[in-house]
Symmetry: C2
Subunit: 233 residues, 2 copies
């Protein structure tokens, strides 16, 4: 093998490794997205068996996080990548943390749904749980698609959506507080729904974090802590 | 300069850079710890001016996070560090994220304290806010000390403390829910105290994350998602 061939070979191998990291992240993303959908279903349908399924997958997600983290560090150590590839690997490390936290939040919703299923169904707040749950799931999917395609415009859309979710969340919380005041018997149950909404709202934050990493990757500058107007510049 | 001298020079420079990262993280840690203390003070003393001070520092913390992140990536790209140094830099990147999130939670408490200060003082839950606030602050300080001294035993203590904070938090939340049921007029105010406690509990989680990074750094294996028993092995 000539020196040139050897260099090409190494570079092809390296590209394959980077693609594998992306692909593992997308697989993990698909799994945590499914976790969120099922946790919301479990809550709205008072389905404890489904909630237990969600909880049983948590360990698998944790193992995936550790494996991807190990993979990124190993590639950085062995390949000593230059600027843009290094940025991709550092971003992947962060996206990985966000995905695992999404899994944690899905588990919290699943736990709440088990507590809620013990009593008779109280439909207050369920429309909002379903709506905000679907909204943050599509944000998560869009953020990961944007990551897979290095699509800044799609990533910007996710950042915008997060502001909308925050408003929907605030409005749902106000409604639930009013409902508590009107009927204090339901305080404990409504609190559980509030905690679930809080978890969903945080999943939106994680999707936003992932989208910001995409913008960072493509533009080469860090856009966290910027307002939407600043991002559009 | 001989080749040997040159190598020594580079290696000394590299060590200085690593020390600087540590030192910047500790400075940022000191600042976010102060933010938590002041936010809790603002809440308990209905001191909106102090809460505004906390909010005004948020941008500075965000800027520190970006600078440290940039610093770590730059060192990895330029120095191409080997296993243990690379692990330190990857861990520093993660500790950095946790510290910034602690700052976010302190800001949330500050915002709640402004809302709470608008009404007359309601001392329910304030003892718990003060107690849990002091507890997570000392965890944060201990986690950063453990990071500075690569002290696994101290880091294990922080992981243990987090379980205690979680119990204190659960107990405070149950008390507050009971209080809401007894006197529904205070629901909105008690909700704000609950959100503040939630933020403090999350600060404990972040301190635990930092401690786990210390254990990972020293032992060279990832201990996240392990139970306390497994950690002691």
């Amino acid at each position: 093998m000539s020196k040139d061939e050897f260099t090409q070979h190494i570079s092809r191998q390296f590209n394959e490794e980077l693609e594998e990291v992306r692909s593992h992240l997308l697989t993990m993303g698909g799994l945590v997205e499914k976790q969120v959908i099922e946790a919301v279903d479990a809550l709205v349908n008072a389905d404890s068996a489904k909630a237990m399924d969600v909880l049983s997958v948590e360990k698998k997600i944790n193992a995936m996080e550790l494996a991807i983290d190990e993979e990124c560090t190993r590639i950085i150590a062995l390949r000593q990548p230059a600027a843009s590839d290094l940025r991709l690997l550092v971003a992947a490390t962060k996206v990985n943390i966000d995905l695992e936290r999404v899994g944690d939040e899905a588990s919290k919703v699943a736990k709440m749904s088990i507590e809620l299923a013990e009593d008779s169904v109280l439909p207050k707040g369920y429309v909002e749980v379903r709506h905000i749950g679907a909204h943050v799931c599509s944000m998560l999917r869009d953020a990961l698609d944007a990551f897979a395609r290095s699509d800044v415009d799609a990533a910007m859309d996710v950042v915008r959506e997060d502001s909308i979710v925050d408003m929907e969340y605030e409005s749902a919380m106000r409604q639930l507080a009013t409902f508590m005041m009107e009927d204090p018997r339901y305080i404990t149950r409504v609190l559980n729904i509030m905690w679930s909404l809080r978890s969903l709202e945080r999943i939106g934050d994680h999707a936003r974090n992932i989208a910001e990493q995409v913008i960072y990757l493509v533009r080469g500058k860090d856009v966290r802590h910027r307002s939407l107007n600043e991002l559009s510049d």
